[in-house]
């Protein structure tokens, strides 16, 4: 641990601790993992790692939402899902044990909002359910089941009855789900 500690400047480390939910050890571990992905040591903190490389992390590899996660946390102008080290820290912070329900539900909403339009509509929900059940034809729900399921979800959580789930409705539902905080978690 001592060897890696020297690579991150001290003031940067404390700044990261202030701005994220991560502990010092977690940040150092994240830095180590990230520079392994980068391929060279001591890279500048703004250099990007492509989405393909990020997705080779075992923590993300088998997650059906992995591409969405990269897109949501990426600050790239090209919208290619590539992450800087700071974006990577943002990701880990939102998925850490100590992140608040508000943060987690905010990012969960953005991950589930596949077309980035600010609401979860029928198509978003369909994609979401497909991610949950598996994308192939034999694992998918039938069209009838899907229709029934989506109408059920909208009936339950679409409070203002406009046909879509908006962020506050989403947070409203999520805040009552006791499993959410414990399952929305990625730890390196």
């Amino acid at each position: 641990m001592g060897g890696t500690a020297s690579k991150l400047p001290k003031e940067l480390l404390s700044e990261y601790q202030e701005l994220t939910f991560l502990t010092k050890q977690e940040i150092l571990l994240a830095h180590k993992r990230f520079s392994e992905l980068q391929g060279r040591e001591n890279g500048p903190y703004s250099s990007r790692v492509s989405m393909e490389k990020i997705l080779t992390l075992p923590e993300l590899k088998s997650n059906p939402f992995r591409k969405r996660i990269c897109h949501v946390f990426s600050t790239s102008d090209l919208r290619d899902g590539s992450l800087t080290f700071e974006d990577f820290l943002d990701l880990l912070s939102a998925f850490s044990d100590s992140a608040t329900l508000e943060i987690k539900s905010h990012y969960a909403f953005r991950i589930f909002d596949f077309d980035d339009d600010g609401t979860l509509d029928g198509r978003d929900l369909e994609k979401l359910v497909n991610c949950l059940t598996g994308e192939t034809d034999d694992t998918r729900l039938t069209a009838e089941e899907m229709r029934q399921l989506i109408s059920n979800i909208l009936e339950e959580s679409d409070i203002d009855k406009d046909g879509t789930v908006n962020p506050s409705e989403f947070q409203h539902v999520i805040s009552r789900s006791p499993d959410f905080v414990s399952s929305f978690k990625i730890v390196l």
Binding site: E102, G118, D179
Partner: protein, 684 residues
């Protein structure tokens, strides 16, 4: 202001997870930041386009909104690191303009918050097996983890008992113990047998009741029997308080998430994915679970629709069939109870010291275990025929199994208490035998010890069973399936599954045994702690090495309520048994209460020593007049709680309405905002 207050209460009602109240109080601002953060215009332009004027304005607007409340830590903002930095720079500017007192206070707040978090983290870091449980969670999902967390909780509970017992019972007895009267040489050759049965050498040691005789510490208010009683009573009260608290907390959760607000399917979709899953295998299994569960729920809906269309004749036929099956279940239960009775009978007919007798002494636990293994599986099959919906089927099996577990234990206790003793309760009107067993063979037998021995045996046997099922059943089975996957037998057996319900019931069962036995076998918590420790490693081995994840999903929150509730049932059962036992045994026989008429006589001596006012207070407290006042006070308090609960329910309804209003307001504002933005863009 009033509205804000309501929001705070609402948040509290909704989420126990919102860690501190200062976070939830800012929820108003949060919704706004979210809306602004999620606007399509902000999403398409991220930072960096510094030359773009519209974007710059937009950015400033967004940051302005976010800077709203400086008390919220920056990391709680849902924006990227660079934005947080920008916001912080702005806050630094603000900080310079405000007074030094404010700045100091603010920094103090941060330090305090950080300290609190660090302490919390350090405490949670002390919990054992965090990494292992995390790994199990990653591979087998939340359900199996719930089992291990429950095991850890029980371990902690037993450790606490050990401390209490050590402090109040063991140490005083050891320190102030009178000269040991028996100096006979123990027969070490039969030690292995004694270890299993709890006889011989062990009977004379601190494991059992008779060791704790009244020693040289013999004040009226400070003597070993009193300390013994104090230790036991505090154990019982402590467990009641802790369990009730945990059950109620869990119940609150499940009530909030339960049928009263029907958004079950939304949860399953929105919080359906377990992001901590790492291996692709576990991921595809999780997808299977989710799919199965969603299908199950949809099927259930269809089932309810079908139920509504049932004709009368179909109803009658179904009800008759159900009654028949329930009778069958009753027959099975009765049969198993009879079996237990015969096992006890056989065990007690054997008195000599041969090896067969040692085996026979284990007959009742073996019978109970076999019954407990076989019957729940039969119940699962039976409930499939009853044409209930799937959830009810699962719950029904669970309830029947719980009933079986606790009832077979209580039957065992009951018959044991009744079998060869002349306890009048069991004689059902027969003439009471006046000859007390303690009178004719008190030198050889100590009834309390006999009872303690039974509980000791059950505990040891539970451990043996754990060993056996892991290394002689589960492991060979896995071995067979792995080595000869094509053989017929392997295909019939299939992969092992970790059945959470049955395992939890096992834990509850053995914990109940511990509570029942602790009064007569004071070292039982220590044995139990050791057993749980070993059991943890055995179960870990079973899960990691031998098990494929179960096909049925298990939800953490609702299931842990059920776990704790059954534990509570077990506790009540053991308290009842203890009360019966205290009345049953003649305390003159052996142990700390030797020579007193009843167990509670030791407190009377102490009471006599007290000054007059204290004596009269105590006698008033134990009188009917006080009980009446107490009941009245309780009625008043309960009424106030009930009415408060009703008021809260009404508030929830009102707040729901308000949420609808708020969200439509927001929608309107967002629309307004986007039209304004468009209008601004047009002139350029």
């Amino acid at each position: 202001m009033e509205r804000e207050d309501k929001t705070i209460t609402f948040q509290r009602l909704l989420s126990d997870e919102s860690y501190s109240s200062d976070l939830s109080s800012d929820s108003c601002e949060y919704y706004q930041t979210e809306i602004f953060g999620l606007l399509p215009s902000t999403q398409t332009h991220r930072r960096a386009h510094a030359d773009d004027i519209t974007h710059d304005q937009n950015e400033r607007l967004r940051l302005d909104r976010i800077c709203w409340n400086p008390n919220v830590p920056l990391r709680n903002l849902p924006v990227c690191l660079q934005d947080k930095r920008d916001i912080r720079d702005r806050q630094h500017l603000q900080k310079r303009s405000i007074g030094s007192w404010d700045a100091w206070r603010r920094s103090q707040q941060t330090t305090r918050r950080r300290l609190k978090e660090q302490v919390g983290r350090a405490v949670s870091g002390l919990l054992p097996w965090r990494h292992m449980i995390h790994r199990i969670e990653g591979q087998f999902g939340v359900g199996v983890k719930a089992y291990f967390v429950f095991l850890r909780y029980l371990l902690g509970l037993n450790l606490l008992y050990c401390v209490i017992i050590g402090g109040s019972v063991l140490v005083p007895t050891l320190v102030y113990r009178g000269e040991s009267t028996e100096t006979q040489n123990p027969d070490w050759s039969s030690l292995y047998k004694d270890m299993f049965v709890g006889s011989g050498v062990l009977e004379k040691t601190a494991v059992f009741h008779s060791f704790y005789t009244r020693g040289s510490l013999n004040g009226a208010c400070l003597n070993t029997p009193l300390l013994f009683l104090l230790g036991m009573v505090s154990i019982i009260f402590l467990s009641i308080i802790m369990l009730v608290r945990r059950t109620v907390v869990g119940y609150k959760h499940s009530w909030i998430t339960g049928k009263h607000f029907s958004s079950n399917l939304s949860y399953k979709v929105f919080s359906g994915w377990d992001f901590s899953i790492q291996s692709p295998q576990a991921a595809s299994l999780k997808q299977n679970f989710t799919r199965n569960e969603l299908k199950m729920d949809l099927e259930e809906q269809a089932f309810h629709a079908r139920v509504k269309q049932r004709t009368l004749t179909q109803w009658v036929r179904l009800v008759l069939f159900r009654i028949l099956l329930n009778l069958a279940v009753l027959c099975l239960l009765t049969g198993s109870f009879m079996l237990i009775y015969y096992a006890i009978h056989l065990q007690q007919s054997c008195t000599d010291e041969s090896t067969e007798c040692v085996m026979l002494k284990y007959l009742p636990p073996i019978t109970m275990t076999l019954i407990n293994i076989a019957l729940p599986r039969i119940f699962t099959k039976i409930s499939e025929f009853e044409d209930y919906s799937l959830t009810i089927q699962l719950n029904l099996t669970l309830i029947r199994s719980i009933f079986l577990k606790l009832a077979s234990l209580s039957i065992y206790l009951f018959f044991f208490i009744c079998a060869d003793k002349d306890y009048q309760f069991c004689q059902f009107g027969q003439k009471k035998n006046t000859l007390k067993p303690s009178q004719h063979n008190s030198t050889i037998l100590c009834e309390e010890n006999e009872f303690g021995k039974e509980m000791y045996k059950l505990t040891i046997f539970n451990l043996l069973e754990g060993f056996f099922s892991a290394f002689c059943v589960a492991y060979p089975r896995t071995f067979l399936v792995e080595k000869f996957p094509s053989s017929r037998l392997a295909q019939i057996l299939g992969n092992n599954q970790f059945e959470i319900t049955l395992n939890v019931l096992d834990l509850v069962n053995s914990q109940t045994v511990m509570w029942v036995g602790v009064f007569y076998c004071p070292l039982l918590p220590a044995i139990s702690t050791l057993r749980l420790l070993i059991l943890y490693y055995i179960k870990k081995f079973t899960v990691m090495r031998c098990c494929a994840p179960a096909q049925r999903m298990f939800r953490t929150a609702s299931s842990s309520v059920l776990f704790h509730f059954t534990l509570l049932l077990g506790l009540f059962m053991s308290v009842v048994t203890l009360v019966v036992n205290i009345n049953r045994f003649n305390p003159g026989g052996c142990g700390p209460f030797n020579g007193t008429r009843t167990v509670f006589d030791v407190t009377n001596d102490c009471k006599e020593m007290l000054p007059n006012w204290a004596k009269s207070t105590i006698s008033y407290i134990s009188s009917e007049a006080f009980a009446f006042t107490l009941i009245l006070a309780e009625v008043v308090i309960l009424t106030s709680y009930v009415s408060r609960g009703r008021a809260n329910r009404k508030t929830i309804e009102r707040l729901k309405d308000m949420l609808v209003m708020c969200s439509s307001d927001k929608r309107f504002l967002v629309k307004q905002h986007s039209t304004i933005m468009r209008r601004r863009q047009r002139p350029r």
